[in-house]
Symmetry: C2
């Protein structure tokens, strides 16, 4: 097959890990006889530096013309002083909105080979395997009004949590579809004892739940969910929630297993192209040091092969290569056990490539 992939490395370690994904995909292309063509485009802080905007129109067009998008990470202290509309994060939020990527999928699972890196006791975390589905283009992130005002000498500020019912509908339905293919349970997270939007969310989940009688639906308040994830992470299969709650809970979930540097994500729309990115950020503190873990980005590429291109065997080839390399003891510094020698980003990429 012939596939066009847009690559948006972004900032910080995003640039290092994106390079890794591209070279691993080239290896996959050679082995399986596919043609992957890569078009690089700017986003985030580096795009601000190069062209004065965190999301150049050209980047949006390149993405739209591609079959899938790979993104590294955006942000860094260099751009923290800039006004709101000129921050690297606006590039990320902008591309989500432009491509209508309404659902962010974050699978979190326990790797027994790196069990020592989890902050949780082994008996609590062992075997945990959940998928967080986060609504990605609504809620507090995009609602209007959002801004300051001054009345009678008093400063105040407002942000708006706005949802159309149909925006809740589509992401919750997707969560149910995904649960059907997993262990058949959806935990819908809200704050229905306080927020009107959460009460509509809960009703919508109930309605959609009736279309999937063989999937178990459970509601959980967001504060309780933040506790349950730590106390009993194995209870979760698919978790679905709105944008801001999803931002917090999916990051919380991602450290439970100790493998933040290994977790991929996929962001889906109705008609594609979809976007794939690691869960971790741009980590400006370790930029250029060849210590970043490239596995999250490489596994994001595997998700792309499976979900966007239907290349199950090829996706498996990457996932198996990662597993083998880990089993062989290769570790970047974030997952290395105490007293063992870590390898660098480039070496990890080479090991995975060689195994494919």
């Amino acid at each position: 097959m012939n596939k066009k992939i847009a690559v948006l490395p972004g900032d910080g370690i995003g640039r290092e890990v994106a390079k890794g994904a591209v070279s691993v995909l080239q290896a996959v292309g050679e082995r399986f006889g596919h043609q992957f063509s890569f078009t690089f485009a700017g986003i985030g802080g580096s795009a601000i530096q190069a062209s004065g905007t965190p999301l150049p129109q050209e980047t949006v067009e390149i993405c739209r013309k591609s079959d899938a998008v790979l993104l590294g990470a955006v942000g860094g202290p260099k751009w923290d002083h800039l006004p709101g509309h000129l921050r690297p994060e606006k590039g990320l939020l902008g591309i989500r909105k432009e491509l209508n990527l309404y659902a962010n999928l974050r699978p979190v699972h326990y790797y027994s080979s790196i069990s020592e890196t989890s902050p949780l006791r082994k008996e609590v975390i062992e075997g945990a395997d959940m998928l967080v589905v986060r609504e990605l283009t609504g809620g507090l992130y995009f609602g209007k009004p959002s801004g300051r005002s001054r009345k009678n000498g008093e400063d105040s500020v407002v942000d708006t949590l706005f949802y159309k019912k149909e925006e809740m509908d589509r992401v919750i339905r997707l969560a149910f579809r995904l649960a059907e293919k997993r262990r058949g349970k959806v935990t819908s997270v809200d704050k229905a004892n306080v927020l009107e939007s959460s009460r509509m969310w809960r009703e919508t989940a109930e309605e959609i739940g009736r279309e999937f009688p063989h999937v178990k639906l459970e509601h959980m308040l967001v504060d309780n969910a933040a506790m349950q994830m730590i106390k009993a992470p194995r209870q979760f299969d698919v978790i679905v929630t709105e944008n801001m709650f999803g931002d917090i809970l999916s990051d919380e979930a991602s450290v439970l297993t100790g493998s933040l540097g290994m977790l991929p994500s996929a962001s889906l729309s109705e008609n594609g192209p979809y976007l794939y990115e690691p869960i971790h950020g741009s980590a400006p503190d370790i930029e250029g040091k060849d210590t970043a873990n490239p596995i999250a980005m490489i596994l994001s590429a595997a998700m792309m092969l499976r979900i966007s291109f239907g290349m199950e065997e090829e996706a498996k080839a990457i996932e198996n290569a990662v597993k083998q390399v880990l089993d062989a003891g290769c570790r970047t510094v974030d997952i290395v056990p105490f007293g063992r020698r870590p390898i660098g980003t480039a070496e990890m990429i080479e090991e995975i490539k060689a195994t494919i």
Copy 2:
């Protein structure tokens, strides 16, 4: 001294633990020669049943005339079908607003005597000791508009995150004052890379930080904070954040040490009366079973003695009694080690009373 205390037992196990606090306070009164007079008043679901509203005006008046308020917990599935304005939680939100309780203080610390109950590895959690200061009367909880609408056949819903700058100001200043008496560090949590309200929050924290040059101020994004609490909880001293983030993070913090059933909280206003309540909820599933842990409520009473009445020695007497009883091996079911016999709520209360 003579002190008037309003007691709002509320629902579920709130009723059982409130009784415990009252009887422990009576023991303290006898030993130290104080007169505590208790006035009971309704709130939450039980108030809905008794008088048709989750917060009767009489309750507000009793609280206003008291020197401090003790609250059990509110809520339960019995009232989940009721419309928004008639839910038990409205009683809790209502009393916070009526008494202008703008800051909720939740100290979380590690008890080595119950270290086995923490889901975290001992080397991660040992020695953790943080104070979460949550803004309690603003943000998404109270902003207007909050409601549904229908336009062109499309349903939508809105909630509003609104803050006056001065509301940020007072709670952040309180956090700095508290940090001065602790280890001198404030972590201000926001989502300044996305929300306007968070950008104002961060600026306000910076401004107030300049008034406290000897307190270290650090900013942390809420998603990162949700991770850092699990990965490295010892890094935190005082955490200050807005209402909804505080709801989520303080619950997350409270399970880290494994002692949710032991954690008290205090809610403060400018001029009092202050309100004290356990962190846990009404736990309707264990209501009436004599298995609830009364320690969180009893330690909330100790906070009341210290903060509202300036009775340091008396507060210490309660805290020491709790410590002794735990050291002697008394455990309710939530903190009992595997294979040991738990004691009931009433027995735990008696043990603590007897020790005072």
